[in-house]
Symmetry: C2
Subunit: 151 residues, 2 copies
Amino acid sequence: MPTRYKGTAREIAALNAFIKLNRSVNALQARLLPPLQKEFGLTESQIAVLEAPFHLGPLAQGELCRKILRSGSNVTTVVDNLERDGLVRRERDAHDRRIQIVHLTDAGRDLLMRALPVHVERITRTMSALEPDEQRELGRLCRKLGTSTAV
Amino acid sequence: MPTRYKGTAREIAALNAFIKLNRSVNALQARLLPPLQKEFGLTESQIAVLEAPFHLGPLAQGELCRKILRSGSNVTTVVDNLERDGLVRRERDAHDRRIQIVHLTDAGRDLLMRALPVHVERITRTMSALEPDEQRELGRLCRKLGTSTAV
DNA sequence: AGTATACATTTCGACATCGAATAATTGGAG
DNA sequence: CTCCAATTATTCGATGTCGAAATGTATACT
């Protein structure tokens, strides 16, 4: 005897958009992440962590947290794995020894320079299911939704 | 000496929309999941797994996989945890003993009936950062993006 | 100087997630 | 009827993710 949750029209409209939003992100990840893993052995988090020092130069782990919007403990784990694989290197800040500065190694830079264009190209191709103006509109709506501090 | 990856205008536009899309989903989850965990002890996956037999009645694990778009091994894990907590119950199909049918227990149904309205209300409030027509447009764009089989 | 407070990171335990390998069961081909 | 191929679920090992507690370091106050 399945019971159905009765929502108001307003709730149904919101849920509808919400579900489609989540599904679309799932679908994008399902298309983009397996090839990234297969071809370069990189996860989404790893490429995010590599990109930060690639674009910005050596970086404290705390800054890294804020850039990629993950918890401190998570960044520790991901950096551990990347360090083990020789793609980044940690160095204590000379002036504040609490801080770990994350440096890209040569191997890390090389790998990223091979992986990034392929990855970006795949994102571009996937996103091109939308027209340029649709991409802009999607971006605008997502931004409005994400930055709203509405209770 | 930070090296910057030079993208074409088309790539930059695609990445822009892509990043905003991902960020918005992150932001929504950051707002919705901690309260769900604190108030009801439920994760996103758990509520998804509970909802399926709630709406559809007892359900084979394989069907459940397809409903919530997760791997088989993942569904096994989440159902394990829910079963341990007494929220669902597994029963072997009488005619095909490979199949595990997932039933909601009374405790599971009770919990879901308390949690779901609160959760849906919070989703609705969060999504109301967008006007109704914006929600529709967001849904349309996400759907178009997610279902495109474009290479 | 000594202590208390604040801050950066790590550790720990729990859950989610995947793919590959395995086990159990079914159904069909011969 | 027997055996093989397909199907369903589980196990295993790896990664990511969080929050809470612990650790180490810096700084401010007395």
